[in-house]
Amino acid sequence: MRDETLLDTLKRRGISRRGFLKFCATTASMLALPPAMAAEVAAALGKVRRPAVIWLSFQECTGCTESLTRAHSPSIESLIFDAISLDYHHTLQAASGHAAEEAREHSMKQDWGNYLLLVDGSIPLKDDGVYSTIAGISNLQMLKDAAAGAAAIVSVGTCAAYGGLPHANPNPTGAVSVSEIIKDKPIINVPGCPPIPAVLTGVLAHYLTFGAIPDLDDLGRPKAFFGESIHDRCYRRPFYDQGKFAKTFDDEGARNGWCLFELGCKGPTTHNACATTKWNGGTSWPVQSGHGCLGCSEPDFWDGGSFYKALSTPISPVTGAAAAAVAIGAAAGVAIGLANRQTKAAAKAAHQKATIADLEK
């Protein structure tokens, strides 16, 4: 079982060649690859071995796991989960207590250097990490031990990727992201609060298919899903371009489906796949339901000011040049190398309207 490829797994389950073709076409679509890449997906699936996966949950709310278990295309995504060997996940596994921890240790030993480590939740560092422990082991220690033998790490959700809610001001537990602790392994960030299930399975499918991690942006996110902003792919974007904005949640503009920018939509500064992949089996997504984007896949979205203030308004009243300089410095530190974000942060601090040209940079 451990040595079989995904193609073997599919064959064993009696999937026909047409079914395999469908699987590849759907996977290519999920990975946002051009349809012509389906043939390459098929070729790659015949070669890649079934990886072991260890999933560690730290300072989190289990929302990421909840999201994932509601992945909407059971037949395809269950195949992907059949194709991995999920050896430890303390919420989903039947074993508990010593047996559970033994399973983790056994899997780590057996696949040392080769397993994929998935982490959700942030890691508290204050007071020796005493604020979150599993089986008496601090999250910090467990992460370090498990990361040492991992081929790659996937930070699932905004907490693991950027610290998330536990990291929000005043951060009482000293929570940090995985990437602030582990520096010597490839880390794929799949942020979102929670992440879109199809995006996580897409990342796993990519790893399974090509045996390598996908192309990442400068915040460690797979470009296939986080390469464009919500705003770029928003079906309400044409209204933004026409200057048609809802001013309140119940005015005529809101009823006509106009742009929610002035109601605080963070779409222009948020990179995620909600606008195309949508939620709940493609039923809808926040903007389609009439509410602006909260920006949940971006670092420090909890500390970004009101969810209901337009991006062009400052986070807090700016009293002097020193405060503005601090605000710019802090914002720039978060968004290293992202000139467009810095422009927007500067615009926020100086209380200027961000122009369309700024947003499109």
């Binding site: 047409r18 073709l21 044409p238």
Partner: protein, 148 residues
């Protein structure tokens, strides 16, 4: 998705966002490639955000053709040729009838409808095995073997 039907939501559509026109132009370009070079192609409909009106416009513009087919593997896949010959609408569903992926294929025949070569070879063996069961005495199942 059953629960959604129980929620009293009044859906008001306010018009498409214009992306259907882009898809239609891409179909035109691909169809020209098929005619001139015999090159087949496919468009993933999840690539551009389309509103219900955009789907309506796509469907109305392309129309209905002569062929409707369904493949049952990993849930149904429904295929129909549009009113523009060579332009096929292929929708993959899962076993719960939810859409997994949707493509416009510009091709002589969508790949998923063609019988895979290996399946044909397996089929020949399966047929011979069945003929052998009918008449175990002959190595080829008793039927006169034809040199094709």
């Amino acid at each position: 998705m059953n629960g959604l039907n129980g929620i009293g939501v009044k859906v008001v559509h306010v018009g498409g966002n214009g992306n259907a026109h882009a898809v239609l132009r891409e179909i035109e370009a691909r169809l020209q490639l098929l005619v001139e070079k015999g090159e087949e192609g496919s468009i993933d409909l999840s690539g551009l955000p389309l509103m219900p009106e955009d789907y309506d416009l796509l469907e109305e513009t392309l129309g209905e053709g002569e062929v409707v087919a369904e493949v049952h593997s990993l849930g149904p896949t429904r295929i129909h040729e549009t009113g523009i010959p060579g332009v096929w609408w292929v929708t993959h569903y899962n076993s719960d009838d939810e859409v997994l992926a949707e493509f416009i294929e510009v091709a002589w025949c969508p790949e998923i409808l063609l019988t895979p070569e290996d399946d044909v070879k397996d089929g020949l063996e399966a047929l011979r095995a069945r003929l052998f069961e009918l008449n175990p005495k002959s190595p080829l199942g008793g039927a006169p073997s034809l040199d094709l």
